[in-house]
Symmetry: C2
Subunit: 511 residues, 2 copies
């Protein structure tokens, strides 16, 4: 798009090139945000064109020969800079991404975009009608193209690596399996113990109706308290809650509010708020670079889970906030004390739907999906047999069998979009949230007291300093090592769950 001089300041020119690419990526996010928040129903066809043009220009600019040339020259310029410097990180991360993206043929990018667009429509219809067969050929096509994509990118150990790497840079499937096995071996006995204990928790308070506006207002109050900056962000309503960032200075989250689903908006808002705090906390120096995003999907999810679960499902948090909440809902909550509320929001119940799962059983939904993805990608499972395999694993991990495919294999959008390799990040988010929290607590012993006093600032400051500001400079493994001086492990998360739920469910702690 611009003439290139043979010498001099390639880094600056690289930054301008990557800046334009970053702009286009953020513009695509805005197009998507607008589509889900504002767009009138009839606008979808035009929007598909807008998105396709912006994304295709972004891709074309990035994989251009010029980008490669600039990256090579810039690499020379930053060679003596420290590993963690902004410029060295920029070149390192962009180069890594460039090399992978260059391996994917343009035709495959286009074919995948078309196939996933059709598959998404087919999935929506199939889920509404619980009709897997109508979705099957689309999923087969998407899977086929995803395999081609993985082969184009390449891998050392196994095909899944090439996909996992999109979400967890540099992580190998073998490493994922190791940490999942650790988690599984602790989680399954815990779920069994809770289920066997059989104690029913009274969550009838959630059967009451909670007026929309008061839910919204309380959510806003919590967002302000956790440190979400409304000068540089906003909250809207959408069918599916999500967070979008167009720069750390313009971060937007959405919430779904329904009077008969109080927990959904409450914890959904805090969950998205956690994502939004990460996005707002990235250092301004990283704006308009490919580093201006989370380290990985798992690390991003760790921030949403940390605020949603470790903070907002803690007893300390509600000892401060229940009286506040009661002011918003005097009729609904007069007779509810902190203990009742705390137990109700932490009820464990193996269930059919991932997004409605409690924090204990949630990861089981991920094991199932991860195993099925691996089987599909390694040609060990046909798409045609996927529903049966799904149901068998539901029975095995959660002890429940979906009555239909809508509440089974068709429940998630991801596969229609070719997002194989994404699900593990959700479970990693659980682990990392606990690992990060443990470290924060070790460094700030007053943390639980602060939370109990509604003083959430110190935790955010700590997260900003250790995690948020770095954006994507480090791989998830590097970041975890820097922050906690440990490898990624399930230990913190398992300890957290055992302590919390042994108390709630009065389990035999000798286990």
């Amino acid at each position: 798009m611009r003439e290139r001089k043979p010498t001099s300041n390639s880094l600056a020119r690289l930054k301008e090139q990557l800046g334009q690419i970053s702009d286009l990526s953020n513009v695509a996010s805005l197009l998507n945000w607008d589509q889900q928040v504002n767009m009138p129903p009839g606008g979808s066809e035009a929007r598909a064109h807008h998105l396709s043009t912006v994304e295709s220009l972004e891709h074309t600019l990035f994989v251009a020969d010029e980008t490669g040339q600039l990256l090579e020259e810039a690499a020379e310029e930053v060679i003596s800079l420290p590993y963690e410097s902004d410029d060295a990180s920029l070149v390192r991360v962009a180069q890594r991404e460039y090399e992978k993206m260059r391996r994917v043929p343009e035709s495959l990018v286009t074919e995948r975009a078309q196939a996933t667009s059709r598959a998404f429509d087919a999935w929506q219809k199939a889920r509404a009608e619980s009709d897997f067969e109508s979705f099957e050929p689309h999923l087969e096509r998407v899977l086929e193209l995803t395999i081609q994509y993985a082969e184009a990118i390449g891998y050392d150990e196994e095909r899944y690596d090439a996909l996992l790497d999109r979400y967890e840079p540099e992580m190998k499937t073998s490493q994922l399996i190791a940490v999942f096995e650790e988690l599984k071996s602790g989680l399954i006995p815990l779920v069994e113990a809770i289920t066997k204990q059989g104690q029913r928790i009274d969550d009838s308070l959630f059967k009451r109706r909670y007026p929309d506006q008061a839910q919204w207002d309380f959510g806003t109050l919590i967002l302000e308290d956790i440190g979400f900056d409304f000068e540089h962000g906003r909250q809207d309503r959408s069918t599916h809650p999500f967070t979008a960032s167009f720069s750390p200075l313009d971060v937007r989250l959405t919430t779904r509010v329904k009077p008969d689903r109080f927990q959904s908006a409450l914890f959904g808002t805090i969950h998205e708020g956690g994502h939004a705090l990460y996005d707002q906390g990235i250092h301004p120096d990283l704006i308009r670079t490919p580093l201006c995003t989370g380290a990985s999907y798992g690390v991003h999810e760790s921030q949403s889970r940390l605020w949603e679960n470790l903070i907002a499902r803690s007893r300390a948090f509600w000892s401060h906030y229940l009286p506040v909440l009661r002011e918003f809902f005097p009729d609904q909550l007069t007779d509810v004390d902190v203990d009742t509320f705390y137990r109700a929001i932490n009820r464990v119940q193996p269930s059919l739907i991932r997004v409605e799962a409690d924090e204990v059983t949630y990861s089981l939904h991920i094991f199932l999906r991860f195993e099925l993805e691996q089987a599909l990608l390694n040609d060990e499972l046909d798409v045609a047999h996927l529903p049966d395999a799904w149901n068998a694993k539901m029975e095995k991990y959660l002890g429940v069998v979906p009555p239909d495919d809508a509440r089974g294999v068709l429940q998630d959008v991801h596969w229609s979009g070719g997002l194989f390799g994404y699900f593990p990040s959700y479970a990693l988010g659980n682990l990392l949230a606990a690992q990060f929290y443990d470290k924060a607590f070790a460094e700030m012993p007053a943390l639980p007291n602060q939370i109990g006093a509604g003083d959430l600032g110190p935790l955010l400051t700590w997260l900003r300093e250790h995690i948020h500001q770095h954006g994507k400079k480090f791989t998830p493994a590097e970041l975890v090592k820097r922050v906690t001086d440990e490898k990624m492990t399930a230990e913190s998360f398992l300890t957290y769950l055992r302590e919390k739920y042994s108390q709630i469910y009065e389990l035999d702690t000798s286990r």
Copy 2:
């Protein structure tokens, strides 16, 4: 961005190229819409980058050699098609635009973008502080670059032609002067007669407070009644009302609502509604082409003025709608009858601010600006003397002198953006609205009765058929000729004003 084959189907490839360019243009509109409607205050710097990248890519793609080559080849393909066919029009209009844009050096595009961006900030500050001197150097720079731009584009008769052409394709300044002289010679005596007559109109009903939500709801009702399609559009709030179109299937207007400024939202909504109906009425076959917009700024303005003034300031309209409006505002309007209301909304009062002017004196504000622009562009007036020249012309045309520059020469944003040549379109809109309405009335004598019965569908159908669907296929002169079989003239507008205001102000009709 794409390989070019030497032969075969250049038209299809041209359409794909122009389609991407059109997408980028619509994306820029969305970025701007979002900035004014949703963007948190802190998001402006990132947004400036987004816009700059999208607009620069749009420009680069358009002026690329490839576009010129495709245009030439496509011109051969459409050579035997009728003038008004979509494809012939597409090539003709795009070629015309391409030739002009190619003459503007890239460096000038960049310099203008930077200078106008700085000038806009300076103007905002200068207006707030009524400090023209601080704005002066910025305006000088913008004027200088605008002159360079006009010289680069080129012209046959005079420099102003090159600027006017951006808003009124193919119109010459000499033609504009002719029609303005015609208008002026009728308008000035009419304003004098009204002022001399001195009859005070009671508009005290607008001193009352009108609750926000009821204003909004009535506006929505009117939008639905005039035929705005909410399936393919939406209404929002913004500081300055405007309409944005991302395709005829996604058109969005904004309204400003204040309890103490009832007329502002009421007529603002209908005004923007008129723009929006035009945008929604463009034929779907023109989507993703440069024809998918209005024929000119003046023609676009004719649609907003037609609905705002000729319809929504008519007695017939309010004979139907006042009872409806009274249901929304029972306390404010119980004692107001149609005559009182009709006279109040049509009060003529020479005043300082263009955007608040009534439909009679409005064009006087335009004459003044047009004459000053010409003088500036022809080096007959220094920027330093602009405030004095402004005030002198205000005295001459409107008989009022601004007490400060904020309410004088600094009131409009246009010049800070280098939009010299834009203002005349507002006055042309007044003329064309009346010309189009006269023709519609000649073909549909029942029109006033339909309006009096709140049946606004037939008028919209007529406008769609004769004007909206064609988008930018025709120049304004061609369109006016096709629709009315006349040249552009002030006659219809003057006759309309004389008849209406002679009655309201009980003027001596022998004049």
